[in-house]
Amino acid sequence: MNSMMSIGNLHVRFATPFGSLEAVRSVDLEIPAGASVGIVGESGSGKTVACRAAMGLLSGSNVQRDGTVVFDGKELTAMTREEVRNEFGTGMAMIFQDPMTALNPVRRIGTQLSESLRLRLGMDKKAALARSAELLSLVRIPDPEAMLKKFPYQLSGGMRQRVMIAIAISCNPKLLFADEPTTALDVTVQAQILQLLSELRRDLKMSMVLITHDLGVVANHTDFVAVMYAGEVVEQATTAELFANMKMPYTQALLNSIPNIEMKSGERLQVIEGRLPNPVDRPKGCGFVTRCSYAQQKCHDEHPPLLDAGNGHLYRCWYPLGHTIARKP
């Protein structure tokens, strides 16, 4: 399989008044061409920062990025800002969690949508607007001509998310980052948007990175999954393999703690006690050690490396599930 993007040993540090905060540490990720890769994690796990850093969208004097990112055969980390910018839109595109804040409130939908067509693809105004209307119907917006003249605040959440998708795919990107694209939406609308994304990906032959906290979304819409915890990838496999053969206690705890529509009513939920470790002052061993019910002394003392369970299933645990070890009482 061709690689669309390959992220190697990515670190992101933020300088804060409280010290250096390492939001992403040593992330390696392969995004095969045409595939859909899910990145799962709680808030603060570094999933969004990792993706924005990979794209080169993090700027500011307090951000430090290390590692290599190769996109479509070009090494982004060795390019100037200007060169990276030329990859945006036509190469990489992004959609955001909250469609309320990700569309410019003071500009018409038509202007926002045709802007990149004109600037990136060199279309004239008329052609760009015509193409914009086509894009809007591609994302199933009824009456696209009227939509072009509207402002974002006049649309419902689902419609805004569709507009944002239309903007993201307007220059035929090869890789789409979708950062929690449905979290702000109602369940029935969420299902529509996820289905739309899957269809667009198939029709336009895009690769996609789907960032989410919802294992349910990942299960149905991705080919590969990477689970992130405290800035690290802790488990990574094909979606089928991951759900069939979980290695990482965290992944399983996450799965079990989510209320499931198929559980019996009144059934008690399994709980992950505690919280994410303080990102400024991380424990020296495994990041999950204080919350893990299988934790041993070794987990406190030594940071586990990424291990391979075969067929590309990677995990970061000294005592993976299936390993015979007494569960802590």
Binding site: R52, M55, L57, G60, S61, N62, R85, N86, E87, F88, G89, T90, M92, A93, M94, F96, Q97, D98, T101, A102, L103, N104, P105, V106, R107, E115, S116, L119, R120, F151, Y153, Q154, M164, I167, C171
Partner: protein
Amino acid sequence: MRGSFWVKRLAQLLITVFGVTFGCSLLVQLLPVSPAEILLPVGSPEERDLLTKEIGLDRGPIGYYAKWLGEFVTGDFGDIYYSGGTEEVSGRLATALPRSLLLMIYTQIVALSIAIPLGVWSAYRVGRRADKVISNTLFTMSSIPNFAIALVLVLIVGVRLQWLPTLDYQPFSAGPWEHAKHMIMPVLSLSVGLVASYTRLLRADMIATLREDYITMAASKGLSDRRVLWRHAFRPSSVTLFTSAALNMGGLIGGAIVVETIFATYGVGFEVFAAISGRQYIALQSMVAIICIFYVLFNLTIDVIAGYVDPRTRDRRINA
């Protein structure tokens, strides 16, 4: 539905004008002595009675106000009384108002054309040395009262260097350079503080806007920084700036009293001051009414501008 907003807004503003002028007329009533006595300190009791009737002071607070209002709306702004005779307020305003308007317009143009690029740029470079230098300098400038700048300018540019005249006003018809020579120092004195406060407002709003997702979205479309700043970030950040600029216009028309006095520009502010110190309360009432009407007009302009700059406010109006 939009119509109903404007009707409501207009009513609000009319209430403001009414409140200000009625408050003014109440102040006249509150004086421990009759204004007639103040205006004609050497007149006979008969002359004073006549004046009391002429002004309408014998009609009680409401009657007096009604009479004043009736005359005001027909363009009769009352008279200024001297020991030797009277002068129409409208005549004085006819000379003073254009001066004040020009002073205000020049000041705003100077202040905004410096503040906008400065604010955008320092927000873009937020936290870096250039931003810190700009912010600190402006902060200091914003704290220095305009009369202090005016006096220092007079001292250095006018008295020591003798580059510019320190007094008087020349209309544009006397030649552009003559006009400009008399305007430069008053405009500078007034605009220094405004540059500082406008830049700070714009910088703060720009910094907030630059953190928004839609700016990252614009950047992820592959647009240049310049385009992102000016096309995407500036407009949504500028509502507070323009609102504040419009609100300042009223203040600049009547409130530049000290600067107008120092440079003998004799605009509306000076006339107001002259009316107060000469105890011309009736003239004062009309002048304050004029200032207030300008304030109200600028307020309406803000609404129009805000609706253009940020379309969301139009919708809020419908739901107001």
